[in-house]
Symmetry: C2
Subunit: 218 residues, 2 copies
């Protein structure tokens, strides 16, 4: 498979490297073609690793992963170009963090809307699936680092796209049974709002190597 | 101990009955003294069970539990009277659910504020602790119905009040180790925003007999 990873931060680099490991071809996209982190990543990654603009990456990918920061997501996808997203699965891993008011941060959008919904509205022909935004990059690609089952959540309007994402997540190590489909893309707002709890747990626990497990009465 | 339980809904009645079982004296408060649910509850509960207005209840309690709906919380506490809350631990179990827009509901307050913060600002001499709003009434008073450890979260400005709440929760069956203190009262917003995920999990799982467990890498 050919993946576009938009964003050169820790999430983008970690996912992109894991996808190389899994034998995929990956183009990392950033605002400018000469981005230092993307260039370094592609040079380390060898032949199946490419880098370019958001547009270059989206054009090259069968699947597009938005690993930009939530507040920059729409602009990045705008640069990527609507025609390069059309009909593709677009995995949105972003969180809408407003860093302007200190720690813990506020969200730039909450309650009545979410980044994923904004993306789906702006790019109606993209098949947006919210996923992975509730764990840190290390846990994303190595869920086994935490013992026992723990959960990921997905949301999106397109059932076939969600099935593809479940298969993609299985490649990262997530058992299909541990992935909870919350329903259509409007449910992404619950996942983005969970960030407010996640970030406080991170502060309390002292690191980001954790997740939650949904446990039920028998 | 003497508890005031404000609210006659399923949360109020369940907590109030559990507190009777534990040997406490409980006054259930509602808008009007003759509230049917409160009258029936007190009649079933026998001698240590009382009912009255929000004011009667708050005056009678050493500890006040807000089990009203989030959107009615401030008005209920206003009726209870500032002087009846002063210096007391006030356990806020409420969720700020806006039912006007269908299911899943929006929150009436989110991101930049929370019901618990509103209460603490309006009643600065009350010792507000957010607790129990992340599980349903059955789980609140019987955490053992779910196997293995699972977590409750608290938030509040007053460390001594939080310690009292941890002891109160132990009475309900929550091991102190399973109670995670997120910090000051502003952290209540994360717990109230979690409701958006909880309600979608409830829909997905088909019932409310669940909770989350925070799991960590070893």
């Amino acid at each position: 498979m050919r993946y576009a990873v938009l964003g050169t931060g820790i999430v983008g680099r970690t996912l992109a490297s894991k996808l190389l490991e899994l034998g995929h071809e990956v183009t990392m996209g950033s605002r400018s073609a000469g981005n230092e982190a993307a260039t370094a990543w592609a040079s380390d990654g060898g032949e199946p690793a490419h880098h370019g603009t958001f547009r270059d990456a989206a054009a090259a990918g069968d699947v597009v992963i938005n690993a930009t920061a939530g507040e920059g997501a729409l602009a990045a996808l705008e640069s990527a170009g609507e025609e390069n997203l059309e009909g593709k699965v677009l995995i949105d891993t972003s969180n809408a963090i407003d860093h302007s008011s200190g720690f813990p941060p506020l969200l730039t959008v909450a309650n009545t809307d979410s980044v994923a919904e904004q993306i789906q509205r702006r790019f109606p022909r993209a098949r947006v699936v919210k996923a992975l935004n509730t764990v840190n990059a290390e846990v994303m690609v190595n869920p086994g680092m935490i013992d026992g089952g723990h959960n990921l959540f997905i949301a999106g309007d397109d059932a076939a796209a969600k099935a593809e994402v479940v298969a993609f997540l299985a490649g990262l190590g997530w058992a299909a049974d541990d992935v909870i489909d919350l329903g259509d893309i409007t449910n992404a707002r619950a996942l983005e709002m969970y960030l407010t709890l996640w970030i406080r747990l991170m502060r309390r626990l002292g690191n980001a190597r954790f997740n939650i497990r949904v446990v039920r009465a028998s």
